[in-house]
Symmetry: C2
Subunit: 418 residues, 2 copies
C-alpha cells in the first residue's frame, strides 16, 4: 500500500509516524485548555472537539467529542468507526475542499500534553508469546518443562488492574512489597529489587458482548492497538504468585502509548500466526491472518545518560492473536465492554537481542546487559527511563503509536514506619 | 447493643433483618418507575430519591440520589456516611417528628425489584479463609503441603472480573470452557461439569487511595459489606490456572446480595482475627478486632424441590480481615477506587458441615452430599438454586443482607458449532 498524501506536508515524510494512512486517536491538552480528543496527522493534531463544534464532524450518533476520551466513539460501533475514518480522510487528504475550515482546528504536537486516550474499563494481560513463555519456563522449571501443559492449547491470561494504567510520560514509583529470599526463613517487606518492564501490544476492545464470540467476531470488536509496558516486580511476583497468579507485582503501573492505532490503519500489515503444534479447538481456530507486522524496539536511558536499544522484535512473533485472546476471554460468558484493554503478553523473538524483558535479557540477573557508555543492568535502576517504540512500515510511509515511555523514580520511605 | 426502635413496626420484630440498627443500602425499582437508591427498614424501603426531592435528605455534598447507584454517596466520604446514617436514624426512629413527610417515601419491599446497589469499579477475590485453603490444599497437594508457603504471611488474592458481578436473583448460565480430563491426551471444549459456588463476604471500598494505606486507614475506607457467591467452574479452573491463576473459571458470574450493610451497622459485632502462627509484617499487623460475628448459611434448592441447608459457618472463621486485604492490595501503590469490591475468599469452618463450597462438601466429588428428599449432589445441577444467608445477631434484633441467590440454567448449545 502506498502513502496516502495529505495537505499537511509533515504527514507525507516517509519517517513521520502519522501519515494519512494512520490517523490514530488520542487525548491531548494545551496550556490554555482542557483535555480533548484529537487525531495525529504529521506533526499536528486535529482537535476533534473544535472540528465537531465547527460542524466538520457530524454523525447520526450525535456529539462524540464533548468528552475527553474515545469510549463514546467506541460505543457507537464499527459503522461509525468506518464513517469517522472516511470523513477524516476527506478533511485531511490532499485536495480537501475544507482546508480553510480545518486549519484552525490543527494544534502542533510539540506543545501538546497527552492524556490516557480512553477510560480503561478492565485490563487483562495474556502470556501468549511463545519465546517469552519458553524463556521464563526454562529459568523457573527447566528446559524439559518450560511450556506449561495448557500453553499450546489456550492463550493463558489473568485479570490485571485497570486503575494502574497510565499514559506514556507518567513517572513510575518503585514499589514496596512482600518478598522472600531463599536465604531467609521468613519474608520481608522492602522496595522491589528486581523491577522490570514487559514489551507488549495492547488491544482496545471497542464493542461490548455478553456471551461467547468467535475469533472473527472478536476481530471486529477490536477498536485498535497501543504499545503497552506491563511493569513487573519480579521479586514480589516470585513470592506471591502461587497458586493464584500475579497480583501486587503487576499493580504498580501499566504504561500505554498516547495514540490508539486503529485496526483499519493496521489492516495492510496483517500476517498469519505461526504454525500450530497442536490443532486449536474450534473457539480458537485461525480464520485468517490476525497478527500484524509491527517492528518493536526498547530503549533504556539511565538518568542523565544516553538511550541504548536493548531489544528489537516484531509483533508477528506472537503465538495467539488478540482476536483469539478476546474470543477465549468470552468462552465462560464473561461480559466484555468498550474500553477493555488486553495486553498481548511479552513479545520476545527467538534471539537473545529480541527479548522483551530484563528478566530474559539478563537471564534472571545472571548475565547483566551492558549499555552504551559501559554501565550494566540486571533490572531497572532508579532514574532509568524505559521506552517502547513500534512501527509498521509501508511503501514510503510508517505507522507509529508515539513512544511508550516511563521513568522509574525511587521508592517512598517505608510507608508503614509510622 | 439493644434494638433501636422505629416507628415502622415491622422493623422492631426480632427476626426482621432490617431494624433501625441496620439501615442497609440498595437500589430498587417498582413496576412503574426507574431504579433508584433505597434504604431497607422493616418490610419497607425508604425511597431516597423521593426523600431527597421532598427535602428530607439534604447535605452539603449536594444531590446524592439523582443516580441509581451508591457510588456518589461513597465518594462523598466518611463524614457524609456518618451524617446520612444519623439523619436516617432521626427520620425512621421512634418519635420521629417528620413521619407525615417520610411516610409517602416508603415503598413495600414485597413489590420491589432489586438491582446492583453500586457500580463495581474493579473486583478482587481473596483466598483468606484458612479452613478452605487447607481443604483445597489437601485435595490438590496432600496434607503435608496443604497451605502454600506464603499463605500465613499475606492474604493471597487475584483480580476478578467486575463485568461479571450480578445482583441476587439473576440466573447464572452454565459455562462452556476448555477442560482436560486426566484420561485424555488433549483438552476438549465442553460445558462445565463441576460447577460450584463459593460462600464469601464482599467488602465494598468507599474511598479512593493512590498509595500504600495502613490497616486502620483501610478499615476507614470500607463502606460496607455484601454476601458474595463466587461461582466457580472447577474443571475449567484445574486446566487453566497454572501458572497465572483462575481466569475463565471465575468469569461467568459473581452474585452479591441486594443490600450493602454498612461498617457502622456491623460495628457492634466486631471480633478479632485468630491467633497468628507467624507474626504478621507491619503492613498487615492486627490493630484491633476487624472481623465480624456474622452467622452464614447456604441452602441448595433443586428445581421444583425444597431447600436444604448444606453448610453453616461464620465470618469470624477468616484468617485475614477485609482491612488487611485492602492494605495488602495497596502495598505496590495500586490505586483503589470507590466501588472496588473485595471478596473475602471462601468462608469454611473447621467441621465438615461448615464448608463453603461443594468442592469441599463433596470432597472433590468423591463424597456426594444428600439433600432433603434423598437426591445427591457432587456439584451443581441445572435448575439448582443456591442461596447464601447472613445474620449478625444482637440483643433482640438481627442484622441481615437479604439473600444472595442464583439459579443455574442449562448451558447454551455449542456456541462455536456454526
Amino acid at each position: 500500500m502506498p502513502l496516502l498524501p495529505s495537505w499537511i506536508d509533515s504527514a507525507n515524510r516517509p519517517d513521520n509516524p502519522f501519515p494519512l494512512n494512520n490517523l490514530p486517536y488520542g487525548v491531548f491538552s494545551t496550556g490554555d485548555d482542557d483535555p480533548r480528543c484529537g487525531v495525529a496527522i504529521g506533526d499536528m493534531i486535529l482537535d476533534c472537539r473544535a472540528a465537531e463544534e465547527a460542524g466538520l464532524l457530524a454523525f447520526d450518533a450525535g456529539p462524540l467529542f464533548d468528552v475527553p476520551f474515545w469510549n463514546e466513539v467506541m460505543e457507537a460501533g464499527p459503522d461509525l468507526w468506518a464513517a469517522l475514518r472516511a470523513r477524516l480522510m476527506v478533511l485531511l487528504g490532499e485536495g480537501a475542499g475544507e482546508r480553510a475550515q480545518v486549519a484552525p482546528c490543527l494544534v502542533p504536537q510539540a506543545g501538546a500534553m497527552m492524556h490516557l486516550p480512553f477510560l480503561v474499563s478492565e485490563y487483562t494481560d495474556f502470556y501468549a508469546g511463545r519465546h517469552h513463555a519458553f524463556n521464563v519456563g526454562v529459568m523457573f522449571r527447566g528446559a524439559d518443562n518450560a511450556l506449561p501443559p495448557n500453553w499450546l492449547h489456550l492463550p493463558i491470561g489473568y485479570n490485571g488492574r485497570a486503575s494502574s494504567v497510565v499514559v506514556s510520560g507518567t513517572d513510575v514509583r518503585r514499589p514496596w512489597g512482600q518478598v522472600k529470599s531463599p536465604d531467609h526463613a521468613l519474608p520481608a517487606f522492602q522496595p522491589s529489587r528486581r523491577f522490570d518492564f514487559e514489551l507488549e501490544l495492547g488491544a482496545v476492545v471497542g464493542m461490548a458482548s455478553d456471551g461467547p464470540v468467535t475469533v472473527d467476531e472478536a476481530h471486529a470488536m477490536i477498536f485498535g492497538y497501543v504499545l503497552l509496558n506491563d511493569w513487573s516486580a519480579r521479586d514480589i511476583q516470585a513470592w506471591e504468585y502461587q497458586p493464584l497468579g500475579p497480583f501486587q507485582a503487576k499493580a504498580t503501573a501499566t504504561t500505554i502509548s498516547p495514540w490508539i492505532v486503529t485496526g483499519a490503519a493496521l489492516d495492510p500489515f496483517r500476517v498469519a500466526c505461526p504454525a500450530r503444534e497442536f490443532p486449536l479447538l474450534p473457539h480458537l481456530r485461525d480464520t485468517g491472518p490476525m497478527l500484524y507486522d509491527i517492528d518493536l524496539s526498547v530503549t533504556l536511558t539511565p538518568d542523565g545518560g544516553a538511550a541504548t536499544t536493548i531489544a528489537r522484535t516484531n509483533y508477528r512473533e506472537m503465538y495467539y492473536s488478540a482476536p483469539q485472546q478476546l474470543a477465549h476471554h468470552t468462552t465462560s460468558g464473561c461480559p466484555m465492554n468498550a474500553g477493555d484493554l488486553l495486553g498481548s503478553g511479552t513479545i520476545s523473538g527467538p534471539t537473545k537481542d529480541s527479548r522483551g524483558s530484563l528478566l530474559e535479557l539478563s537471564w534472571g540477573g545472571k548475565e547483566p546487559i551492558t549499555l552504551d557508555g559501559g554501565v550494566t543492568r540486571s533490572f531497572l535502576e532508579d532514574g532509568d527511563t524505559l521506552t517502547l517504540h513500534g512501527a509498521a512500515r509501508g511503501d514510503g510511509f510508517t505507522i507509529g503509536f508515539g513512544t511508550c515511555a516511563g521513568r522509574l523514580i525511587p521508592a517512598l520511605p517505608d510507608p508503614y514506619a509510622r
